[in-house]
Amino acid sequence: MRSTILQTATRYLLPILLLFSVFLLLRGHYFPGGGFVGGLVASIAFVLHSFANGAEASMKIMRRKPLSLIPMGLGLAVLSVIIPTFFGYPPMTGLWLEEKFPVIGSIGTALFFDIGVYLVVIGVVLTILFTISLNQD
């Protein structure tokens, strides 16, 4: 089922939804949002795109198999847990940079942890959905 309307719409919806997901991810520390929801929204963006153009096309846009996002995300999360130990703190201590950055806000280990969760969620959801949808034929 290919619909031209949906195909055209997703061309614009994909970047907007992805931007929205990043927005949710970044604001999570202060307002409703966070890595988990952000990751789910980003997954929905790709799922919508794959409905219109097929899972192969979506993977081509992502330039990698969604499975490869999982180790990246896990690695980032684990790294953010370990990094404080190099500075003599117990693992998982939240470390923050003094200065605030424009748009992003404060940068700290918790942010990287959230980005890790974000990537894992996208990886998991898309791996499951794409594997099943590519398995259809």
């Binding site: 409703p32 999982i70 959801v125 099943i132």
Partner: protein, 769 residues
Amino acid sequence: MLLTVILGLFSAILMLPLGNKIKTRWSGLLALVPAIIFLYYLYYVPAVSTGTIYTQILPWVPSMDINFAFRLDGLSLLFALLISGIGTAIFVYAIKYLKGHPYFDRFFGYLCLFMAAMLGVVLSDNIFSLFIFWELTSISSFFLIGFNNDSDESRTSALRALTVTGMGGFFLLAGLALLGNIAGTYYISELVLARDLIIGHRLYPVILALIFLGAFTKSAQFPFHFWLPGAMKAPTPVSAYLHSATMVKAGIYLLARFNPVLGHTELWSYTLMIVGGFTMIYAALHALFRLDLKGILAYSTISALGVLTFLIGLGTKEAIIAVVVFILVHALYKATLFMVTGIIDHETGTRDISKLAGLRKMMPWVAVAGGLAALSSAGLPITFGFIGKDLIYAATLESGDTLAIILTSLAVGTNIALVAAGFMAGIKPFSGKLPETLQDTPRPYAALWIPPLILGVLGLIAGIFPGVTGNYFSLQAADSIFGGNTDLHLAIWHGVNTVLILSLATLGTGILVYLANKPSAGKLQALERLNVISPQYIFDLLGRGLLKLSQNYTNVVHNGYLRSYHLKIILFAEALLVYKLWLSGPIHLDWENLTALSIYEVAVVLILIGAMGIVLSTPYLLTAVLAMTVVGYCICLMFVFYSAPDLAMTQFTIDTLTTVLFVLVLYKLPPFLKLESSTRRYRDIAVALGFGTILSLIALKVINEPIEKSISQFYGENAYLLAKGKNVVNVILVDFRGIDTLFETVVLSIAAIGVYSLLKLRLKSSEKE
């Protein structure tokens, strides 16, 4: 000390990336690993022989007092030298023996792992790290026994060995934990100080039984001995290393190490003497009937382990000295004999003793090594074995009037059989006339016969210079086992006394038995008829029973239907919750304090009920799924009403994705077929209603309870102070309870990998067709 263990483990890991290079060009480097470790420990000999003790602690789980605590005293050093020294010989030998084998790298990976684990066992002072290394030796032994994994027998033997030693390890853990709890310390060096407390405790017999089970299974004592002959399915270097010289001595090491803590009581002594005494004579007699060279050696090893157990049970000064010397003697000659057997097998292709003769012409140096080992095992004067045998007799003779006669005759009987067995393995294949069939036996490589020759000659040197052996390698070890001063002084000549006469009589009778004993297939078959009452048969019977039981259990509980799993899980949860609700008493509802309903809430609940009605009545799967999504969205709205935006957002996206997932899967399913009977349907409705009712009751109950606010208050107050976040929910997720989140993401990843691999696997198998 820690470094040597790590070196072993590291070498094992290096086999993964470097496997192909090691198979071909770098194979010689492998022998460096044990050689370096051997030199390292040799360096400690002078200091340790004067009583210095080295310790090293690497914290692991300090809060539970589980650490890698290493302690190098005389006993540990003796074992470390045996492990690395014989290891060096075995490595050199095995590099040649297995050259060109497709799993060459894998083999040495296991061997390095074993060596590291075994070093860990003998160096550990913390009982838990000792246990971990203990189990690692069992595991590496499992892989090595099953090394020829295309042979059914190898696999069975490996599994049997793992089951027996693993079961023993389980008991050992229980025993060690009890011991540590009673004494209040997990360090063996401190346990010694708590000796009176432990021995006087009412659980002392239990501890003893558990630790004995661990030691007896590992060191192949009757009735757990049967795994060791089976373990001979491993390549010969493994039999020489693990199953004669080192791993099987771990049980002996354990008994020796705990002798000062638990020993010198009647229960300890009599159990060890009875089990060890029976094992040594039983296995020695068995050895005489074997045709397979490795079978002979396996049974004579079991017998030697019995001797050691027996001597530790005896527990006198003489006995402990005999233990130390015999450990050394036995390791030297038995490893040699195994390697000699391996060479014979490698060159002639048979290990059947009735077919082998006259090989001295083809492999003179191998014959020399075999002869030296056989003589040492027989206890010929000036060999090290002579001193060992002397000490054993001296120990048994010391033990009082009637007991001395019984024990000594037991020891003499065992030794006569062992002399004969040693000659069968070390001399028989080389003596006599070379049969026609073996005329074109190739000559073995030097790398094969040099290691056994060195070990054989070492046995001779150790015997010629007993003072050196005694002072540097045995004295402190004997003291550590005895828990006091043993005044060990080894000598080759004690003058003409009862011991010497007994020794010579043993030797003479042993040679006569060797000459008279003609093992044949017929005798072996007659012996095997008794298998029905053997421990192995009973063990296998139990194993099959267990398999049958677990199969039946699986068929009933895990029938593979998702609906059945769901039903069981939900019913179980309901039972638990009802029980808990029942205990907590009646629910009082205070209608006054509940907030009033708003029009929006009523509307959402009505939509929700309508959607559920559609789910239950629609004939189309897709409609049902969409209606379920409506239910989910309604719950989302509820979250919004009660100001939980994070929850609402997550629920909304998850519901959307679940629907997508459903649609993708349903696409392949046939239309809604009514497969289940209406009674089943009513049952399901009842279960679902029950679950809903229980959860509602719990919610009402929660309103009743005084709310514990300290936790939420803490998060609320500290979210910004400690974690610089204003969204408490998110701060809890990524900071306060971040480790939980981390593991949740790991679980998610596992699920994704599961789905991915399942579907990919299915694709592959369909592609084949």
